[in-house]
């Protein structure tokens, strides 16, 4: 893994026991769900719904860890913390932006041709 790669392949390999078919399917589901989660997170922040923010960010954090995407975990963890404290401020929207930006990077990386 290069230090700039958004995903650590070794993590996904461990999670799927190096089953290439399973890896492909997991990536496909992760990217498909990721788009929906970013959208839902933005909507939860706009609607000032801390419980929903915790639920969505926590779930996104979990699946991101499985595909070895660690960088996206930082804004997501902060959203979970913020949602749990029920203290939402303008930072929440910035965290969603950071999440989306990193997710786009992950999408490009995972859909680009690899060995």
């Amino acid at each position: 893994m290069s230090s700039r790669d958004p995903v650590d392949w070794n993590v996904l390999r461990a999670a799927t026991d190096n089953d290439k078919g399973a890896m492909k399917e997991v990536i496909s589901i992760y990217l498909h769900e990721g788009v929906k989660k970013v959208k839902a997170l933005r909507s939860a922040v706009e609607g000032q719904d801390p419980d929903q923010i915790v639920m969505l960010a926590h779930q996104f954090l979990g699946s991101s860890r499985f595909v070895g995407a660690t960088e996206i975990g930082k804004p997501l963890s902060a959203l979970v913390k913020m949602g749990r404290s029920h203290q939402l401020n303008s930072t929440a929207a910035q965290l969603v932006n950071r999440t989306e930006k990193e997710f786009v990077r992950i999408d490009h990386f995972l859909t680009a041709p690899h060995e």
């Binding site: 999670a15 799927t16 026991d17 089953d19 399917e25 639920m55 979990g62």
Partner: protein, 346 residues
């Protein structure tokens, strides 16, 4: 993958199934990973995206093991766990809880709710498999143990035989029972009968353990036991078992019965009859002689051999070895096994 609801996943695989595993997680990525991993090792996997759907699924069929997420919308993993433990039908089902939380308090809460094990995301799928296998095997053993002997009972015997059949390596399966045990039980009472069964259990375990660490001893029920081992080890184990039981069985009788060589009591038709002193019968099936594909085949052959050993013609044989053929109720019963009188083993 259908992760939307609780529809069971149809899986076609060769070999015996390890049973049903229910995976509960609201994250389709985790569901996909676990479904594939558990299917690959032989489970029939059902999935549910929330605890309520999982509970409805369990009402239809109780799984062998449950893997559940901790944080889910609606009912969380801990509440789900408590509901499972409260229901007598599911209270013994092993539960593995998974979560991104790795805090000690979270894990302890999971255990308090009734989880048997806890795994933090992201997990290594091989670790999940290992933990699952350990839990399921231990649970099956505990559930099926014979209350008298404490030995693994029928489900565990079947599991062990199927495991060895799936490995495609030859093994020997021996069905052991006590001839004329019922007469002894009738005359001396259940307490004395139970003592004989407990002593025999200990003898089988000690003999098998002295020869091999890989052998398996199970208690089918009543006076019926099973040993699974390699053919070579089985010969040595049974030699010890038969000699020891023969040597010690006299101690179970009063001197008048010992002098007479048996008991006089009513038979199943309520007529007085002489019953010799107890001895062991062992039906041995070596899967190297002819491939056996299913546990039911083993049981069928063992039952047939057992009947032959108890038939009047072969009354004094102690051990029957399957020769690869099975002929029921035929005139040439002698052709299906080789009988070894007890004294030849000594």
């Amino acid at each position: 993958m259908n992760s939307a609801a609780v529809a069971p996943v149809e899986v076609k695989r060769p070999g015996p199934s390890l049973g049903e595993a229910l995976v509960v997680d609201d994250d389709p990525v985790i569901l996909c990973i676990l479904e594939k991993a558990l299917t690959n090792i032989g489970y029939l996997v059902s999935t549910a995206t929330n605890a309520s759907a999982a509970l409805r699924r369990i009402e239809r069929s109780v799984p062998e093991v449950i893997v559940t997420d901790l944080l889910m919308p609606g009912m969380d993993g801990k509440a789900f766990c408590r509901k499972i433990r409260k229901n007598p039908m599911t209270s013994g089902v092993p539960i593995i809880m998974i979560s991104t939380e790795s805090q000690l308090e979270e894990r302890l809460d999971g255990f308090r709710a009734g989880a048997d094990d806890y795994i933090t995301k992201p997990f290594h799928v091989r670790e999940v498999k290992a933990r699952l296998d350990r839990l399921v095997v231990r649970n099956q053993r505990a559930l099926s143990s014979n209350p008298l002997s404490g030995l693994p009972g029928n489900p565990s015997i079947e599991l062990e035989a199927n495991r060895r059949l799936s490995e495609n390596r030859p093994f020997a399966f021996s069905y052991i029972d006590i001839d004329d045990f019922k007469a002894y039980n009738d005359v001396y009472g259940y307490e004395s009968g139970d003592r004989v069964l407990k002593d025999l259990s200990r003898l089988l375990v000690a003999a098998a353990g002295s020869i091999s660490t890989e052998s398996f001893v199970g208690h089918v029920g009543g006076d019926d036991f099973v040993i699974i081992s390699t053919a070579e080890e089985m010969r040595a184990i049974l030699k010890i078992v038969l000699a020891s039981f023969d040597r010690e069985s006299g101690g179970y009788y009063a001197s008048k019965d010992k002098q007479r060589g048996g008991l006089i009591t009513s038979n199943r038709q309520y007529r007085k009859q002489f019953f010799p002193m107890m001895k062991l019968s062992c039906a041995v099936i070596d899967t190297a002689i002819r491939p056996i594909h299913h546990y039911a085949e083993l049981v069928e052959i063992a039952t047939e051999l057992k009947h032959l050993l108890k038939s009047q013609t072969h009354r004094r044989a102690s051990l029957a070895q399957w020769n690869g053929r099975l002929q029921r109720k035929s005139a040439s019963k002698q052709a299906v096994y080789r009988k070894l009188p007890h004294r030849q083993l000594a």
